[in-house]
């Protein structure tokens, strides 16, 4: 797979992994919708209209309106900005913070590595969802804090993943060969270690984004860090919960379904990538051994 060029990789994706292709399509769909909404949709997310409060789904308002007459479709699409930007920012932060740590720990080995591992293990005993919620609750509700809390937790994940990759790679042949060839440490890391370890981590990214998205939504739903934005999907579900039982089910349902769809897209993408990168080990053991049916 390494030999292929990027365009060929993208064009060939539907054939090689339908799951990854559909997942990618869903995610990109949300991105495009969030960017293009002002151009194509007549209603804005904040435009209250007293004449059309709490209208059910109709042609004019496909997802209905809320109690102040705002168009739900506009609000849901507006929420996609948060649903995309916050996990993305958290992911970037997590990778930027986490990978250097993991790289250093993996390279150093020994005591430093053991200590960091124990530390990560200890922190890992707190369910990540609760830790993220607590961090935001402690720091106070603001978009920055939400990104920071999610980013720190992503960083812990990526540090650990990177560390494992480095350790595994360290024992693999081509690093030893590179040492035997007389590579400097810096070149060893930049040319040989980093590209290969990053490739190993890349497949985890959609799943981590899905985690950040879900956690963001729980924050919104529980009213923690609602400053993330009025049209954040979790917060919208929270607002619509009571209306759901009085008959206005669309208020909570559609933002919830948007969450589900985007999350599903990310999960599909992750599963597809895993399928593409993981080949069954037995298939390499020869035909007789590899035949499974």
């Amino acid at each position: 797979m390494t030999g292929r060029r990027i365009p060929a990789l993208v064009l060939g994706l539907p054939r090689r992994s339908p799951a990854a292709a559909i997942g990618l399509l869903i995610v990109l769909g949300f991105v495009v919708a969030a960017l293009a909404r002002p151009l194509v949709w007549p209603f804005g997310p904040g435009a209250a209209d007293a004449s059309s409060e709490l209208i059910g789904p109709s042609l004019r308002h496909p997802l209905g309106t809320d109690e102040t007459g705002r168009d739900m479709l506009a609000r849901v699409i507006d929420g996609a900005r948060y649903a995309i930007a916050v996990p993305l920012a958290a992911l970037v932060l997590g990778i930027a913070l986490g990978t250097p740590f993991g790289l250093l720990a993996g390279l150093a080995g020994g005591l430093a590595d053991r200590l960091l591992r124990r530390l990560a293990q200890a922190i890992g005993f707190i369910p990540p969802l609760l830790l993220a919620l607590a961090l935001v609750a402690a720091m106070g509700p603001s978009l920055r804090h939400v990104v920071l809390a999610l980013g720190v937790l992503e960083a812990m994940f990526f540090a650990r993943a990177m560390r494992d990759q480095v350790r595994a790679m360290h024992d693999s042949g081509f690093i030893e060969a590179a040492v035997a060839m007389g590579n400097r440490r810096r070149r060893l890391i930049l040319v040989h270690l980093l590209p290969n370890t990053l490739a190993g981590i890349a497949s985890e990214m959609p799943r981590r984004a899905a985690w950040a998205l879900a956690t963001l939504a729980v924050m919104g739903f529980a009213g923690i860090g609602t400053a993330a934005g009025a049209s954040e999907w979790g917060a919208m579900v929270r607002e619509g919960t009571n209306a759901m039982f009085t008959g206005q089910w669309w208020l909570a349902l559609f933002p919830g379904l948007a969450l589900l769809l985007l999350g599903f897209g990310l999960q599909l993408l992750a599963a597809g990538i895993a399928d593409l990168t993981l080949r069954s080990p037995a298939s390499r053991a020869g035909d007789l051994a590899g035949a499974t049916r």
């Binding site: 124990r118 969802l129 609760l130 720091m139 529980a222 923690i224 979790g234």
Partner: protein, 338 residues
């Protein structure tokens, strides 16, 4: 080979380290807070005497190190402070609410495993067929499903539309009085007290939250079990056994035995992370357990509760971790004995 004394010492050392790290994080929650600690611990408008007491209790005018040591000592003594929302001590509040949460979690785990493990096994064995795609797709949808959305959807269908289940108003119909506490589970206690009405009501209230949690667990387990079994199916020894003409039952047995450690790890992983999801579900169903208590404390900034809740969640997953390691150790000893 291993001296038990040394092993125990080592374990104690690790436990102490883990506790200190987690205590530090809980302690830091206050330091991260935007408001002064007195407000965080005593509520928006603490009385002057309350204020003085808090400062004395926590040593708030002393250096941070001293505060941390005090916090550790207090925590070890089981003192978690007072909730400014309920006015009671956090320890009492937690103890009163714990049975409700445990009841929910235990049933959900059992039901989740009962659905998820067979589904995962079936998915793996029907590799490449429609059944697998269905099970895997369902697993992925479940993995992407926001917990609160599933709860609301179930409520919408079974409570609002079909009117089959009671309102999400806690563990028991509001018109009934709870049975006296024996095990802490309203359902079991009601049965023990032969209170049919209470038992029926408790069961009715349980169904939807347990189902929600169980479905979420089952979705994850399906995916994890499927992967674990598939890895077994891809081994050369499995192919060999199949080629030797073993019956389907024997093959299933071989794959299950091989995958058992992974499945056990997946199950324990679900246990460890469960309190977070449970909190959200309790919140939706107004369950009145520790999860709802903790979540509301977080959204209102009741820091003493928040700290204790995080500690409790860590303690629970530490317990699960020990259970996981213990079983694995026993299983490995069984192998090594040969």
């Amino acid at each position: 080979m291993e001296r038990p004394g040394r092993t125990i010492l080592r374990l104690l050392g690790i436990a102490a380290f883990v506790f200190l790290v987690i205590a530090f994080i809980c302690f830091m929650l206050i330091k991260l807070g935007a408001a002064p600690p007195v407000v965080l611990l005593g509520g928006p408008n603490p009385m002057p005497e309350e204020r003085a007491q808090l400062i004395a209790e926590y040593g708030l005018n002393q250096p941070a190190v001293v505060q941390f040591i005090r916090y550790v000592v207090r925590t070890l003594a089981g003192e978690f402070g007072r909730s400014w929302q309920t006015g009671a001590t956090v320890a009492d509040d937690l103890l009163a609410r714990l049975p409700a949460t445990l009841e929910l979690m235990v049933y959900a785990l059992l039901l989740g495993a009962l659905i998820g493990i067979p589904a995962g096994v079936a998915a793996a064995f029907s590799r490449g067929r429609a059944e697998e795609r269905t099970a895997r797709g369902a697993g992925l949808v479940g993995a992407a499903m926001p917990s609160f959305l599933l709860a609301l959807l179930l409520l919408l269908v079974f409570f609002r539309w079909l009117d089959l289940s009671p309102a999400p108003s806690g563990r028991l119909s509001v018109v009934l009085t709870p049975p006296p506490t024996i095990t802490g589970s309203y359902f079991i206690d009601a049965i023990l007290m032969q209170d049919a009405a209470a038992a029926r009501s408790a069961l009715g209230q349980l169904i939807l939250p347990v189902l929600t949690l169980a479905l979420l667990i089952a979705a994850q387990l399906t995916l994890q079990v499927r992967t674990a079994i598939l890895m077994q199916l891809d081994t050369a020894h499995f192919a060999y056994a199949r080629a030797q003409g073993m019956s389907r039952d024997m093959l299933t047995g071989i794959a299950m035995r091989g995958a058992a450690p992974s499945i056990w790890a997946a199950f324990c992983g679900q246990c460890a992370a469960l309190l977070g999801t449970t909190a959200v579900i309790e919140y939706v169903f107004a369950w009145g357990g520790v999860g709802q208590y903790g979540l509301e404390a977080m959204s209102r900034g009741d820091f003493a509760v928040m700290q204790a809740f995080i500690l409790l969640s860590a303690a629970l997953s530490l317990l699960v971790h020990l259970m996981h390691a213990g079983v694995r150790r026993v299983a490995r000893l069984r192998i090594r004995r040969a």
